[in-house]
């Protein structure tokens, strides 16, 4: 993919290693997603149009200082477990800025169930979901998944950015309801939301232990420096078979 850009500067967009994510190479490189609704912007982010043969294709810049998921990708995370066609349960959707990029990644064949408890952010989220019809807005408390059990199907991945001290438990209870066997979780942990007095490393280790006890097996951990301080993203698998354990079926 290549083409022109306003002002004559050449911008090329190439696929990132992670399916559904792209990099725009111009004067400065930028992480971008393919705009699901061309012409529409969500939070004043920059749009980048490139010519792809006969067609004009539009991408949206994804700012790692405003999105922990973007920060994790630029930090070199191995896998986000979201790609075209994925179904994602997004806990802590806020105003829907990062959610809109996840919606771009999973595309029209995918779905994002976006849960947010705050009514103030919820209004914005609903408006984002009006334009992007692969987002199902759910204004409800992620602590009580039974309240929204009618709205959510089985998902491939749970993403959580709820910044609550009982975050591990919140993710676990949602996983028991909605996460497929061998599905994945991606959790952003802000150390001082869990315990503001302990060392961040100790907090992350404590959270990892809690996750393990709920069949959520952490496989990768990444800090979000330089974009966020004392933040880590933990990625793992739900109901992963124990190592070395053979299939006892036959």
């Amino acid at each position: 993919t290549g083409g022109g850009f306003r002002g004559g500067i050449k911008v090329y967009v190439e696929p990132h290693r992670l399916s559904g994510v792209f990099i725009a190479r111009g004067k400065e490189d930028a992480l971008v997603t393919l705009n699901l609704v061309p012409g529409n912007e969500v939070y004043g982010e920059k749009k980048i149009a490139v010519q792809d043969g006969e067609n004009k294709v539009e991408y949206r810049a994804w700012n790692p200082f405003r999105s922990k998921l973007a920060a994790a990708i630029l930090g070199g995370i191995d896998n986000i477990h979201m790609k075209p066609g994925s179904k994602v349960l997004y806990l802590g959707a806020a105003s829907g800025t990062t959610v809109s990029h996840v919606a771009d990644i999973v595309g029209p064949e995918g779905l994002v169930y976006a849960v947010e408890f705050s009514h103030r952010s919820g209004r914005d989220l609903i408006n984002v979901a009006k334009k992007r019809t692969n987002i199902i807005p759910i204004i409800e408390d992620a602590r009580h998944p039974h309240k929204y059990r009618m709205l959510v199907g089985m998902v491939d991945t749970i993403f959580a950015d709820v910044a609550q001290p009982d975050q591990a438990r919140i993710v676990a209870i949602n996983a028991h309801h909605f996460l497929k066997n061998l599905g994945h979780f991606v959790i952003s942990i802000k150390a001082n939301c869990i315990d503001s007095t302990a060392q961040p490393e100790a907090v992350f280790a404590g959270e990892v232990k809690k996750l393990r006890s709920e069949q959520l097996k952490p496989e990768e951990q990444l800090t979000l420096e330089p974009y966020e301080r004392d933040h880590a993203v933990v990625v793992g698998t739900y109901r992963a078979p124990a190592k070395g354990k053979k299939d006892e079926d036959e």
Binding site: M150, L151, G153
Partner: protein, 167 residues
């Protein structure tokens, strides 16, 4: 004693009958082992009845009750109609408050623990394949419509744009 499982979905209510086992632990392990494969799971669980919501407004009305743990008249009627020899029956569901209401108002034993949550995971996997006329696409459409109406109603009456923190 026959066992049924209630599954609440954006498109309507489903009632499923469960294959009888002498030991509940046998059933539990069978469900766990076969939950991801429709063919095997369908050998354990059969659709007994399905009642679609009549309209978007009707779905929202029922969803509001489900989320508050209240027994809606539609659900009451659905269970009453489809479980005729009620004292012989035993329902499994996801919500203990609704379970208590079912027991009180209809006299049907209702349990929410143990094997129920695993069976309901299976139903969430395979629901569109159990119900005629439902597909992955149409189930997403039902969820989308209901998600918007439920969420819109939640923020609508909050004119000051202040957060309601209910702890």
């Amino acid at each position: 004693m026959a066992m049924y499982v209630l599954f609440e979905h954006a498109s309507g209510f489903g009632l499923f009958s469960v294959k009888e086992f002498e030991e509940i632990s046998m059933l539990q392990s069978q469900v766990e082992k076969n939950v991801t494969e429709f063919g095997k799971f369908a050998g354990l669980i059969k659709l007994h009845a399905f009642s679609p919501f009549k309209s978007g407004a009707n779905a929202l009305d029922n969803m509001n009750c489900i989320s508050e743990g209240l027994l809606h008249d539609d659900l009451k009627l659905f269970l009453d109609t489809n479980l005729s020899e009620r004292r012989e029956n035993n329902i499994r569901g996801r919500d203990s408050k609704i379970g208590a209401a079912i027991q009180e108002e209809l006299g049907i034993t209702c349990q929410t623990s143990g094997v129920a949550s695993e069976i309901i995971r299976g139903l969430r996997y395979h629901f569109p394949r159990f119900v005629k006329g439902l597909s992955d696409q149409s189930q997403s459409k039902a969820q989308l419509g209901l998600g918007h109406s439920y969420s819109r109603a939640k923020v609508k009456f909050n004119v000051h744009r202040v957060d309601n923190m209910i702890i």
